[in-house]
Amino acid sequence: MKRARQSIKFLLLVFVMISLIAGCSNSTGNAPVTEKPKENTATAEPTPEPEKKLDPYEVVLVMPGGPQKDHDLVMAEINKILTEKINATLDLQFVDWGAWGEKTNLMFASSQAFDLIFSAGWFGYTQSVGKGNFLAIDELVEKYGQEFLNTIDPEIVSAAKVNGKLYAMVANKEFAADKGLTLRKETVDKYNFDLSKIKELADMEPLFKIIKENEPGMVPFMNTGGSSPSASILDYGYYDILGDGPGELLRHGEGLTVINKIEDPKYMEYAKLMRKWYLAGYVNQDAATLQDIGKSLGTGKTFATTGSYKPGSALENSRGQGTELVEVQLATPFTSTTDATSALIAVSRTSKDPERAMMFMNLLYSDAKILNLILNGIEGKHYVVKEGNIIDFAPGLDSATTGYPVTMNWMIGNLPLTHVWANEDPNKWQSYIDYNKSAEKSRALGFTFNTEPVKNEIAAASNVEKEFKYVIVSGSVDPEEYIPKYIAKLKTAGLDKIIAEKQKQMDEWAKTR
């Protein structure tokens, strides 16, 4: 018995020892990534700030998405140039879109070291600023980010400001969107529809009627809860939705009065129209629950959907759907804070060297070579120059077989510096610039709503929204009956408090402008 006891003790001891040793060896074996030794030449070229030689540094950039097959090859090319310019290397890390929230929260919570991180107005930017995850970069940009300031319209730069401080750099691309309907060109031609007469959503009714009567198996107007006319035309073309939670600003008009769009006559008008069309069978019956319309335009299952447009989007969408599409504009280009902040790069509070991170970002606004490498890959390997600025896939490659598909060409840097693909509008960048100039700017451009004081009310309101929004905007229920119910429930959830808070912040913001 005693022997047994002793051997069990011995076993336990061994077990404890092993786990201790294993624990220790693991922790020493994995130093943080930023301390990786780097091979770099001692003869660094003079940099924009050449007073003293910079120590080697690895800039860690975290982007949503996934790495490509030839990621390492491209990184090696980029690092050759970066070492020369600012004696730094780039470590581009990816986090999947769906895992982003959870994973980046953990990265910040554990103070993992990284320098730059993607964010966006629709992607939790203000919340992250509220949590203190990003560094205020006003001074850094002044000192090291001149190229960024020279490139971007100051009004757009300040759209990324929260409480008067800048926390992120916007990517230079389109800062506005126009809204409307996407139609199948083939069907439009077949029935000789005159699209120039369509000025309002209601003008589509005769067209839908013809489709319904003559095209069995084709849905005249395909909708999902998130892509209904109310969500995609009104929310971003008729109102400025002013960030999270209820409380909107009318696009046309004056002053900065925050309203509740659900009580607005226009909202009711659209809901009634959708109800009428739903009952007439013009709208798909599963619109409230459908998530994704897929390629139903291309296959001829759908005649029309709603859409959000920018220069060249008809071409892009036509290619995606595999059939020619036409756009009917129902709301002219409009720049709200959401549009202006649709792609941002922020400096993480866990950055070990924010200055170098800023130098790197500065290059992305001035150095076409680096930006082209990051976005389009290696010349001669992934793409070849056709003429001037126009490129195409290297011989033998296409979008499916290339080792570096283009996925980030809207997310980072000064995009007009980069090449244009042969299947795109050759004047893409110029038309973006013109488009941005032509867009009407929201009176509240630059206002960002800090949800912190009313976050409980907003959570409650979004639960109410889940119950009512999709069924109302898709025409699945009678709006005369349901909209008053919706409003009543929102009021119980704290609607008035949210709107009052938004109005308060708006007034404060207006003073600082």
């Binding site: 018995m1 994995n30 097959k69 769906g98 919570a109 554990s110 629709w122 001829g300 959000s308 959401t338």
Partner: protein, 295 residues
């Protein structure tokens, strides 16, 4: 009377045939969708008898996508290593606390029981594994956190040991001169095949189906597990469709694999684990009553 019984028999058969159909048809449907032509699919929707077949999705998965084969390898490696190590550790923990003559058995049982009821929460859990142990982005992080040692399995196994290996048996072995190691490996474990197989299957399934550790700890694509790849598609689609104000929605949606590819991935993901069931089955039946009496 005889015909009556005969009818009853047929009725039962019919009920079970229907039951099998209900369970098999969805699987079959997933398979059929995965070999349906993409265009036919959007036009006609899901069908068990598609008009036009196409194997492009499998072709894509095996030839063009380097990720999926990698993930296959990772999942198999993690499952095999995890199951073997997990089983060994579970047995090594369960055996001592099943011995009535082991002095700390109550404390250790309580200790393991507490882990069943409480945990430290996600952030501390993550901090320990990444900052203290530094195992993030390695295969170890797919095997150890949350999966390696399951308190519930330990308790099941302990109960089995106490009921099948009476103290007298161990005493007999000791009188015959067997040491503790010989008793454990050559007597107890041999007698406990049913429980080993059952717990082994639990671990195998847990490892095969695990995706959370990949989500949390892994950033290199080469180390993703198969189930995470599947889950990621759902998460990505869900995210893209539910982010209000996302002006880049259409750009993002074009990155999501097509419906047939998703289904093909599901088929590939279920593949080998189905083969594990017949192997474990006979032990599972023997082990049906394991854990029925706890104490």
């Amino acid at each position: 009377m005889k015909t009556n019984l005969f009818n009853m028999q047929w009725l039962l058969h019919l009920i079970f045939i229907m039951y099998i159909a209900v369970t098999l048809v969805p699987l079959l449907l997933v398979f059929m969708v995965s070999i349906t032509d993409e265009r036919t699919l959007t036009l006609k929707g899901y069908s068990l008898f598609p008009e036009k077949l196409s194997f492009t999705s499998y072709n894509y998965l095996f030839n063009d996508s380097f990720v999926i084969l990698n993930a296959y390898g990772v999942t198999i490696a993690v499952t095999v290593i995890g199951t073997l190590v997990g089983l060994l550790l579970t047995a090594l923990f369960a055996y001592p606390i099943s011995r009535k003559d082991f002095p700390f058995r109550k404390w250790l049982t309580l200790y393991i029981f507490i882990t069943l009821l409480f945990n430290g929460g996600l952030v501390p859990w993550y901090l320990v594994y990444t900052n203290l142990l530094g195992i993030n982005n390695s295969l170890v992080s797919l095997i150890v956190p949350g999966l390696l040692l399951n308190a519930f399995n330990i308790i099941i196994m302990r109960t089995f040991f106490t009921t099948t290996s009476p103290p007298a048996l161990i005493e007999c072995a000791q009188i015959d001169g067997a040491g503790e190691f010989r008793i454990f490996f050559q007597i107890i474990l041999r007698l406990s095949l049913p429980v080993m197989a059952t717990i082994g299957l639990f671990y195998t399934l847990a490892y095969w189906n695990s995706w959370f550790n990949s989500l949390i700890f892994i950033s290199d694509r080469e180390k993703y597990t198969l189930q995470y790849l599947l889950n990621k598609i759902l998460l990505d689609i869900n995210f893209i469709l539910n982010s209000p104000g996302n002006t880049s929605q259409s750009r993002l949606l074009s990155l999501v694999p097509t419906e047939t590819v998703r289904m093909a991935m599901a088929v590939i993901g279920t593949g080998p684990i189905i083969l594990a069931y017949p192997f474990f089955q006979k032990y599972i039946i023997q082990g049906m009553t394991i854990g029925a009496v706890k104490g």
